[in-house]
Amino acid sequence: MIKTSLIKTAGIVALLTCATSAAAQDDNQLVINGDLEMITEVPTQDYIGGIKTAYSGWRYRNSDMQAMQLDDFENPASLAVDEGMASWTNVDGSEGKSCASCHEDLAASMSGVRAVYPKWNEDAGAVMTLASQINNCRTEQMGAEAWKYDGTEMTGMEAVISLQSRGMPVNVAVDGPAHDTWLKGEEMYYTRYGQLELSCANCHEDNADNYIRADHLSQGQINGFPAFRLKTGGLVQVQNRFKGCIRDTRAETFSAGSEEFVALELYVASRGNGLSVEAPSVRP
């Protein structure tokens, strides 16, 4: 069961910092393409002690950046999405198959899929992320080479698959066979790393809505990943972002696809259970 000591500590810390609503954002309502209403604010599940309300990263951006997500043409990720769509029907590997060969129609087969990842895979005996599942299909079903876990082909495919769940609430399972992995992720979230001895919680729970130098800190929710980062001018994979964060604490970071990051991804996703899948989002 959930370690009560962790929850107590998180609870006390939350009380000490003034729990503000995401006061500094410019708009509260996200409606995409004029008709898709998104949930960007939702009460957290009872297994999340440190925050009472989950806010999407969209809520922390200024209105110019928020506006870039309102319309799929305006969204700078649109070109990467087109590439991902093309990739769906691309034959690759020894079996002469494309994704479409087995899954056929993208929208029909992938609707709701992104919303429940990461999830336990019985055959693998482990929690799989969307990326690890995509690579599993490629190597086991298509006889193709695995893609770089956080590379461009992967983020393009993650983006088009995520689009088929866009708007649906994130709903990852934290109990059952996934529970141990989830506990491991929770422990990582509250562990201080690196020379700077910072945990995820120090910034994203204790100081969400504050500024660290010129960055406006969000809660670090991942419902918007893969995210188009203006800084890099491309889609960024969620574990690539984890790498960056831990590297910024001046620690030796874990690698994308590692067990540690899979556990962390499951836990962080659960902190945002109920928020709409927002990928591909636009972030600084």
């Binding site: 506006a67 130098r213 960055d215 800084k231």
Partner: protein, 138 residues
Amino acid sequence: MKFSRRETMLMALGASAVAMLPMPAMADVDELIAAFTGGAEVGEGGLTLTAPEIAENGNTVPVEVSAPGAVSIMLLATGNPTPGAATFNFGPLAGSQSASTRIRLAKTQNVMAVAKMADGSFVQVTQEVKVTIGGCGG
């Protein structure tokens, strides 16, 4: 440290050479404006520049220029190593003399627009855009 007379002379030459280097960006901006206006006087009014006060990231800053009745509008990022951004020339089927685009700003600076009006006159407008360098944005 003792310098020989030769070394001292060379150092002095070097120093004056550096002093003679032009201030890069500002000279470029004046040249670009002069090339656009042919040296004519530049007034104000009738030209709108819309840009964010603070750009969370300098890579992609949305800007809009609008000058009803203009023939063309030049957009400059005066603080960039190469200040030129775009020159919009409106054709006979332009629905309005306005356009939006996204530009890169290397640092906090003045974004400037200069419009050539149908009667041959020129107007300009400037707005400062702050560009923040992140903290732990990775």
